[in-house]
Symmetry: C2
Subunit: 236 residues, 2 copies
DNA sequence: GTACGTCTGTACGATTCCGAACACAACACG
DNA sequence: CGTGTTGTGTTCGGAATCGTACAGACGTAC
């Protein structure tokens, strides 16, 4: 059913014509947290389209193993952008499942053909590309200028925008890698947010309790990131 | 002359067919450092293509006036990417002239039409888009993880890759905004690089003296950024 | 229930960087 | 040749974060 597809499935795929969708024949897969969908040095053979509830991190890492999240993709988007818009090549980035969920996989070469020939497909994917680039540059500024606590609050809200619940399952160690900070720093920031009742946490779990309070505590990056996502979903 | 255009002019424009080039009718302008070519809240009516020697910074800034450079564009590229690949809208980023030089200006709506209809134009501009996204995510990681001195060394090399000389004219205050750090930090980093003979500096000026030494002192981001630019230029 | 591995809270010194201020140097302009 | 403006070097205290270490809490497996 088409309407169901646009709300619970991937929004980009949901806007493809049924003829194109049949030809692309996406395969649905369920993935668990920390699953690696694309490796940095790999030339991806597939393009992935998360369904609602699934969130994937696009990550860059150093030779020494340090890593930072460049951006996140939910059911509004796809990855990897590079392989869609240009010839296949290693992307240098890693795609890591952050929130469990369903993901549609499409053959990269096949999709690239439709991207080239079908204006509707192209406009949709380029529209997301623009949104993603916008998100990444915002995160670049945020990573440089804002404090851990504010960035943590922002991060939780950004994820919340892409899932159905206030419950998130992840370790603080995982979080420290996403934010690019050391683990004890995350522990302190989590506690700080909890004492003010903004979140609750226990082992492997963080849940949002006060959405508005969290927004107020987060850095100024939250609002534009939320707004641009909302607008993108609306105009899609 | 076609060959002159590809070496001293903009590389992307140089690969357009002469028929398309005539239709686009780019206007050449000379710009000085700190000229603002695109404002964050503005819907750009033009797309800009730097010639060799001109370098433009793509900058994101906060409400409070702090700013960080997201990436740089030389004669290998164009800006703003958003306005080429999607419908016109404010980009949220600022384009600031960093190294004086010539820039070709093309009407955004006109170029967008060719981007839509001409596969050659589209492939060229998307190829750069991929490169730019790669550069931005690398800078995101660098901004989060690396120290001022290493980032300064990297920055000088990145600019060096896009100009003809080892002489650069800019204030340390300007530099501090690009790197997103406070000005005295730049002063200290510049001195540190100078005492080891890697650079020379005086008021409003920095010149590279030891290219290899600077590379060794810079963070690990320099090499991949240099390599991907070189490869892009070669395969263009 | 017990043992083990994983995750988390906390501590401490060391380091980097910020924020602000000030004096001096270089240059531009009259 | 003064004078004002701009850019630079340096200082200081304080804040944020790192690096490392360790102990306790939690959950799982046997």
């Amino acid at each position: 059913m088409a309407t169901a597809k646009t709300t619970t499935g991937n929004l980009l795929l949901g806007r493809f014509t049924s003829r194109v969708l049949r030809a692309l024949a996406p395969r649905e897969e369920d993935h668990a947290i920390t699953d690696v969908l694309i490796r940095p040095d790999e030339t991806p053979g597939s393009i992935f389209f998360p369904h609602f509830g699934a969130v994937v991190s696009i990550i860059r890492s150093t030779e020494s193993g340090a890593m930072v999240e460049a951006g996140v993709v939910g059911n509004e988007g796809m990855f990897n952008v590079h392989t869609v818009i240009t010839k296949p090549a290693p992307t240098g980035a890693e795609a890591l499942v952050q929130i469990d969920g369903r993901v549609s996989r499409v053959d990269a070469a096949l999709l690239h053909n439709y991207f080239r020939d079908d204006e509707r497909v192209r406009d949709l994917l380029l529209s997301f590309t623009s949104l993603f680039l916008h998100q990444v540059t915002q995160n670049l500024l945020c990573n440089r200028l804002h404090a851990i606590e504010q960035r943590l609050a922002k991060w939780l809200l950004i994820i919340r925008d892409r899932i159905a619940t206030d419950e998130m399952h992840m370790t603080q160690d995982f979080l420290s890698h996403m934010l690019g900070v050391h683990r004890p720093g995350v522990s302190i920031a989590v506690s700080a947010l909890e004492v003010d009742g903004l979140i609750k946490h226990s082992r492997n779990r963080i849940s949002i309790r006060d959405h508005a309070g969290l927004l107020a505590r987060s850095c100024e990056c939250s609002a534009p990131l939320h707004a641009s996502l909302k607008q993108f979903r609306a105009t899609l």
